[in-house]
Symmetry: C2
Subunit: 376 residues, 2 copies
């Protein structure tokens, strides 16, 4: 068998050896000081990565469980303004519909958030705003600080899904007025899939909804985390916690600023290649929005078929993402999250350039060389 394929997706992402090997140890008691220290190490580092001094918990469940925890604990029967310019904004809207009166603030996927419509909704009484900071479905980064300001101006809670930005891009939850932030383990943290972390501001605690769900009851998480050793209310996914701790220690060792700079450089390299090839980046930006630093979405040129291109790339052991839902066949996406560096980016771009040419697209210039100029 060949070496495992290189996953250049917007999650899951390749994990460093230290993270993977942390999982293979024997079961430990999750009601022990040892487990408490594992949990506490992760929380300490994650608070830095979130840019928060707020309470922070780790949930045994995927990022979606974290999104639901935010809405279910703070949004029940509330007016919720849901910003939607991609698949995950849509998911937060769908979750919000199950708990409160959800209002969609929609713009086309990959286009700027409609800040005026948001302000209207806030004036009309929205009590919570939900935002996906980094919308991987479209490769766009949304203006969290501006949205935080608006939410606070109208005394609304601000829920920010930072699932694919936290740990890879600059996030300053407290400075931006984020009341509830969420990250997933298998994205920029480069840990295995299956955990979500969530931070909660004191302002949010004051507005805790009644009758939360049971497994995602954040008050229970708070109670269990505040004893003499940190615990979770229900049995945690211990191997994943062991891996997350290792991933967090690696972030601490790299230094958060270095890590963010690395992510920015990697995504800049992908964008440079796309530009050199003469391809368009999918997002349509304005002054408030930027390209994602953790995934790059590129529009297919006419005549290139998604399945053919990704199959050629996969044959070389590299997996990139296509578009989701109505963007299937329209875009391809290259993740640059977590532990990836120049080798992975160069290999991916070389394979992509090869595939584009093979399928008859005339690249304007040498994208691989352009990317190397950024990376070097």
């Amino acid at each position: 068998m060949e070496k495992e394929p290189l996953l250049m997706l917007p999650g899951p992402v390749p994990m460093p050896e230290r993270v993977r090997y942390a999982m293979m140890r024997q079961a430990i008691n999750h009601r022990s000081a040892e487990f408490g220290a594992v949990y506490a190490d992760s929380v300490r580092v994650l608070k830095t990565v979130f840019g928060t001094a707020n309470d922070l918990f780790v949930i045994s469940g995927s990022g979606t469980a974290g999104m639901e925890a935010a809405v279910a604990n703070f949004g029940r029967d509330k007016e919720i303004a849901c910003i939607v310019n991609g698949k995950f904004g849509e998911r937060l809207y769908k979750i919000s519909q199950r708990y409160g009166k959800a209002h969609e603030i929609a713009s086309a996927w990959g286009t700027p958030v409609n800040l005026a419509a948001l302000e209207e909704q806030l004036k009309a009484g929205a009590e919570i705003v939900t935002l996906v900071h980094n919308e991987t479905s479209a490769g766009i980064k949304n203006p969290a600080p501006e949205i935080g300001k608006l939410a606070h101006k109208y005394d609304a809670l601000f829920v920010m899904d930072g699932i694919t930005s936290i740990g890879g891009d600059l996030v300053e939850s407290d400075k931006w007025g984020v009341d509830i932030a969420i990250v997933g383990s298998q994205k920029c943290l480069a840990a295995p899939a299956g955990l979500a972390a969530i931070s909660v501001s004191s302002r949010a605690w004051e507005r805790l909804s009644k009758n939360p769900p049971y497994y995602l009851d954040l008050a229970a998480y708070r109670k269990s985390a505040s004893g003499k050793q940190m615990e979770t209310p229900y049995t945690p996914a211990v191997p994943l916690f062991l891996a997350l701790r290792e991933a967090c220690l690696l972030i601490e060792e790299e230094g958060l600023a270095n890590r963010i700079a690395r992510h920015q450089k990697m995504s800049a390299a992908v964008r440079a290649a796309a530009q050199e090839w003469g391809l368009s980046l999918f997002p349509k930006l304005d002054a408030h929005h930027t390209y994602s630093a953790t995934v790059t979405a590129v529009s297919y040129p006419d005549g290139i078929k998604d399945d053919e291109m990704r199959a050629l790339i996969k044959k070389m052991g590299i997996v990139i993402a296509g578009g989701q839902d109505h963007l299937k066949g329209k875009i391809f996406r290259i993740g640059s999250m977590g532990a990836v560096g120049a080798p992975e980016i160069l290999a991916t771009l070389a394979a992509t350039q090869y595939a584009l040419k093979k399928l008859g697209y005339k690249t304007h210039g040498d994208g691989v060389q352009a990317a190397a100029e950024v990376l070097g």
Copy 2:
């Protein structure tokens, strides 16, 4: 550092090497045929272990998430009869209170289920019955077949928490009329903590509640599992799925009947030791109830302090459980779940016998020898 402690708890339990090592591999794409096969292998074996031909899904979350999925998807706004004779029955009652009109059918922990009170509640219109099959908090096994019969007689759904029986003791979900059964990964399956599996009968699907939660929406699990490759609706905890598959293959290799016989023998050995020591088993049984085959709860004799005894045993590298809630200090519990065999049981009983004597209890006879007679 010494070898890791031997966990003789009612979960988590020691994992075989093959199970642990399955987790250390590199991330794989969970939207791939490879992951689909991993999921399908587990489902195939789990259906045998559950004794069911019903749909079966694996949720990335603990057993509690599985319990909530059962109640939230089938119990919203319903009359729910919750049988409570231990901590986990109580938990199902608490979860049920968040979704429906929950009625507690209570008896003291470790004492028989009040079948007459259950029948009254069913006559009065209960639409669902919840039961913990094997109540680890008290070491009692509840009469699931009788309760299934009663539930069906009154056309109610039967939710059975088999978290600590399935994979270790005989469970025949379909024969017993169990509509929804749940297992946790870190108990008799001897896999890591963090996954729950849940089966759903066609009778239950017909009565699916409206407005389920999002992350635990079982209709979404059904949809994702029924494509050309099995998937989960949201990102699964991939390393845990890899480990669960290995744990399931080990069950297949051992043979379910052999595995159940092994569990029965191990718990019989613990009971034989307790009897020889002159100690009482905690549960009070009647003709419908038996001792648990996966955990044994023993009442402390007068004068023996729980923390002192368990500390002496822990000093020898073995961890047994005390009592929970109001049973703290009153009982100790020895798990015999999953991969444990004679070496672990003998070591645990020898350490317990030593501790009892050290603390001044006059054992009637040699419990270790009595256990060895059962095991040999």
